[in-house]
Amino acid sequence: MRSMLKTLFIIERTDKKNIFACLIVALSIIGMVVYANATELGNPIKEKSIESLPAKVAMNKFQIVDASEYGDGSDIYKNIVKQYYTYPKQGMALKTEQPELFIETAIELTELRKQAFEMDDYDLVAVNLPSKIENEMDSYYYQYLKENDLVLSFGSLSFYPFLAFLFSIVGSVWFVLICIYASNIMIDDFRHTSLIKGYPIAFTKYVLAKCMTSMGIVFIFIIELIVCSLPLIYFKGLGQASYPVAVFNGEVTIYPIYKYIAVSIVYMICLAVFAILLSVILNVLLRNVYLTLFVQIILVVIPILFPSLIKLLPFNPFNYVNFPSVLNGDTLNLETPVALNSNAGLVYLCISIVLLMAVIKWFLSTGKLQKI
């Protein structure tokens, strides 16, 4: 087994595809670092300014009338006017670096939004304001900041927050990328069957070794993600690893950034194993790279196309393929809202991995692959 791994490793190391993939991953991450640095990504003044525009648009949907407490404007109008005027306060707090005022106004804003959900005519402005779950996550986030007296960062994204951002971006396409990468994992072996026959090792073990080397490359990708973001330490500093991130796993909770990154990495590893095993099985069944890719992509797309399926089959591992959106609670904004639990998602993924392994083992032992 060890010598097999060694042989495969030597083959993979010189494979142009791997070198190219590593290069592309490194280049795109460095590109993102440059982008984040150049556009001041996460600069709170900019973000608040962008956030205030939809509120202004919402405000324009109402006749301008007296919005004071006993004025004749409707409740929702008064609410939105109040919301709109918290933004200048927040901007001021940011410019004069007053964290208490900033957090206070932010909590005030989430409270106002919370009230607005219950009001008549909310539908009119629903598209311009954040959804319930987004507001709840904001609310938890600022409450947490207030309770724990954390130092608010006023600059743009530093290293740790950038990593969290990077993992949430990469995570949403991770499964598809690994599918593309691994889609031809077994194809070459079907082309040159005589080569495999010569190996003094059982075919199951060969498949296992092959999956393990692929996983090795995947680990290199993950390490690359972290290493290539290091330049940001020079530009923007390290940041706080314990800074909170609001996430949704059945209910809104707060993770520190390092936990968020850890969860993302665990998810990415599980998804990679899942994708590789799926590729193996589809390769065996379909014997064609493109059909394999096509089936995989179809499986990913189906829950997006038919959101009602997610509620029907919450244990479908493909619901959790886009794990950053699960962690954001995006599934609550669907036409058929459903609360997916990210921890349960990991369990479902692991179960699917075990099932896939069992299926592969069964395939290889019942002579389905006699031709090899």
Binding site: V57, Q63, L124, F294
Partner: protein, 396 residues
Amino acid sequence: MWAYFKWEFKQFFTNKKNIAVYVILLFLGLYFVLKVAPSYEPIEKVDVAEMEARFTTRDDFIKSVEGKDNIHPSVAFALAVFPQWNEYDRARIDAINEKDYLKYAEATAGWYLYSDQLTVNGDSFFYNPLYYTYGNNYAHADGHYGYGYTASRFTGYVEGSSELSMDLFEERTALQTLQRMLNDYLPIVLFISCILLSVDIVLKDRRNPSLLKGFPISDWKKLLMKGLVAFVGSILSFVPLYVVLIAIGLQNGFGDFSLPVPFYSYIEQNFTNMTMSTFLLKNILFIGVWFLFLIAIILFLSIIVKAEFANLFVSFIIIAAEWFYFERVMGAYSDIERYPTSYVQVGQVISGYRNFVYQSPDLTYQHGLTIIGCCTLFLVILTLIVSKFKRFKLIA
């Protein structure tokens, strides 16, 4: 020569990397259909609530100050301009309620022209708040462009004979989506796929030299055929676009080829309409010439440098170059219209938007075609000359 073409063609389409490029394009297209296109929120929406709010606010104001003496000059100004404005808004609201789309288009065109006249040089009014984004020093100009564009578009709907609908007004139909994307990042995506498709077209032969040495055909002709195959292959990257077009068309309607596409003339500072078919044909021609340019670069580099990475690097630099030197209104004081890289945003050049952001009248479609065409021709001739030298043989 024909046989060699077929041989190359077959190799091109059985190349794993090439098929991966098509598959990725298709996947991007599907993602666009499912996620990006439905979440498109135009600034110039058809929003009845907003119109009604504006109308009633102004109407109340007129009623409350009408007939009073000793009014402030700005109130007098408001009294002078609001009635006409309200008339347009009234007509728009009524038309929506009656579902009379032609009347809506007419009133909307009038509304945008009138609003623009009042806003552009005055400081009493503003454009739609969504134009005034953080750090945008040209928001007012953007608003002016947006209002002019919308007014021209709606005038086109009134004059044309297309079947009108809400999706049409918000530019959501298939052809209009294509037009919007051509004004956006679609050309860049196509160019990148062209580069990825043709990057190894020459250098792949170096893997099996003995096989190819026997071909009784000169290097120069081989290169020509390779270029042709790469061009055909790049043109075929439009195929995933058709899938996207059909998918969007089934959801939001297809639109038709006589729809108006506003064209901004920098010299006259106004908008005129061309038809959708003209716009698309011009785009296809321009993108085709760009493909030829990129392929010529790759062929030339392939025989000179003989490294795939150099091909990738140089051609990506060509595409990204504008991004490095781009600054708004820089056309007023520099000769950006002389660089081929300024024409990479094909759709924006054709619709005149590039003239607007650069503030330069010379960045035209004809000018671009000439420059890119000349560069291509020059590179092809250079390749022809170089390929005659023994030193730069295709297969060493």
